[in-house]
């Protein structure tokens, strides 16, 4: 919360940090993110990315908003310009990773079983199947879900949230945690706008600004290859900025992260640890 020292004492909890103890029992003041173990692992992932000069992007959206199609179109257009790799998160099947591999770039599929989000440990384990030396941009396609993925830092540099025009234009108001976390919002499937006249892109953008989020909102159709140039320019700019940061030793986190990301930096290595008692599987390639 605090940008100066990284502590988590806010106007809302200040009284608690200075609280005195009743008699008899040890009262331990902690003020630590509930997800501090995840956040440590995320920081560790970020170190891996930065060491190899990789730009890591977390793609989030509801199921079926066009994440994989966007990646296919992006790889087609940019695979000679950047070395791209993809980590795919789904509850089941390896279908999306197969689609990405068919475009000629490495893809690691994480199947989460019933878990509704990726976490930093899953991504860390997936990284063991990927040679980051050969990667400029790593896309992490999160599980299709507008709720849970927003709470888990993966070590990415930027959050990209997709909103397809087949959904409601008030989605940012309905899912504020997700859309507040976005560094870039992509309005997808815009080729369908002529037949979906109840979706107003301007209204979606107003809902986004009401979350105090200045993120650009780009409109595109991956299927019809409309509006992709601005998205590619954003990627080029972010890739160049990441290279500059690596050169000068700076670390970038997404603009908004839950409290944990602001905690004092702690690093640790915890290979192979399963998170949260969940079980998940990997299929690399």
């Amino acid at each position: 919360m605090c940008d100066t020292c990284g502590c988590n004492i806010t106007p809302g909890n200040e009284h608690l940090a200075r609280r005195k103890n009743p008699q008899g029992q040890d009262a331990i003041t902690v003020l630590k993110s509930l997800l501090s173990a995840n956040d440590r692992e995320a920081a560790h992932n970020r170190e891996h990315f930065d060491r190899h000069g990789v730009l890591a992007l977390n793609l989030m959206s509801s199921p079926g908003s066009g994440k994989t199609l966007l990646l296919e179109a992006t790889i087609e257009a940019l695979k000679n310009e950047f070395r791209i790799a993809v980590i795919e998160g789904d509850l089941e099947t390896e279908n999306d990773a197969a689609r990405i591999r068919a475009k000629g770039v490495p893809a690691i599929q994480i199947t989460t079983g019933s878990a509704c989000h990726l976490d930093a440990h899953m991504v860390h384990d997936a990284l063991h199947h990927l040679n980051l030396e050969n990667v400029d941009i790593l896309f992490i396609e999160n599980v299709g879900n507008l709720v849970c993925p927003a709470s888990f830092d993966l070590g990415q540099h930027r959050n990209i949230t997709l909103l397809s025009v087949t959904e409601g234009d008030d989605k940012p108001a309905k899912y504020p945690v997700m859309f507040r976390a976005a560094d870039l919002v992509l309005l997808t499937k815009t080729d369908l706008l002529p037949v979906l006249d109840d979706f107003d892109p301007a209204r979606a953008e107003t809902c986004l600004r009401n979350l105090a989020n200045p993120a650009p909102a780009l409109r595109l159709s991956a299927k019809k290859k409309d509006g992709l140039a601005a998205w590619f320019d954003w990627l080029r700019h972010e890739r160049a900025a990441q290279r500059d940061r690596v050169r000068t030793g700076q670390i970038l986190r997404p603009a908004v992260q839950p409290d944990g990301a602001h905690l004092h930096a702690e690093t640790g290595h915890s290979h192979g640890r399963l998170s949260s008692g969940q079980h998940y599987r990997f299929r690399g390639a």
Partner: protein, 124 residues
């Protein structure tokens, strides 16, 4: 329903603190949740007995403090309350605000029963 994941992570932290302080039991676990944390307090409460079963925190009371949303306006400098999907300045209406409080998801404190000398100690 990621609250179960969050709750397991909470219990692991509490277990570490209890071990560090050689506690025999945890009597209370206090967390702070802001509306923008992405964690539902009621779901966390439901997950707690499941996640704490068989642990040193099994009989602990879970205390959830809900924190308010407060924003600071970058335009007029006012500090006002805000709503979860309307983080605009309550004074001038500008959307260029900074969140002061409301996205917390914190383990605030724990109360331990131990055989050691009672007293206040900081975990960090």
């Amino acid at each position: 329903m990621h609250e179960l994941s969050v709750c397991y992570a909470l219990i692991r932290q509490v277990q570490d603190i209890a071990r560090e302080h050689r506690a025999v039991a945890v009597t209370s676990v206090k967390v702070q949740i802001g509306p923008l944390s992405g964690v539902e307090a009621d779901l966390l409460r439901q997950a707690f007995p499941l996640a704490s079963a068989g642990s040193v925190a099994e009989t602990a009371q879970l205390v959830i403090e809900r924190l308010p949303i407060r924003v600071h306006c970058e335009s007029c400098g006012a500090e006002t309350a805000a709503e979860v999907n309307k983080l605009i300045c309550g004074a001038c209406g500008d959307w260029h605000t900074r969140l002061l409080s409301g996205d917390e998801m914190l383990l605030a404190s724990v109360e331990l029963e131990s055989n050691a000398e009672p007293g206040i100690r900081n975990a960090e």
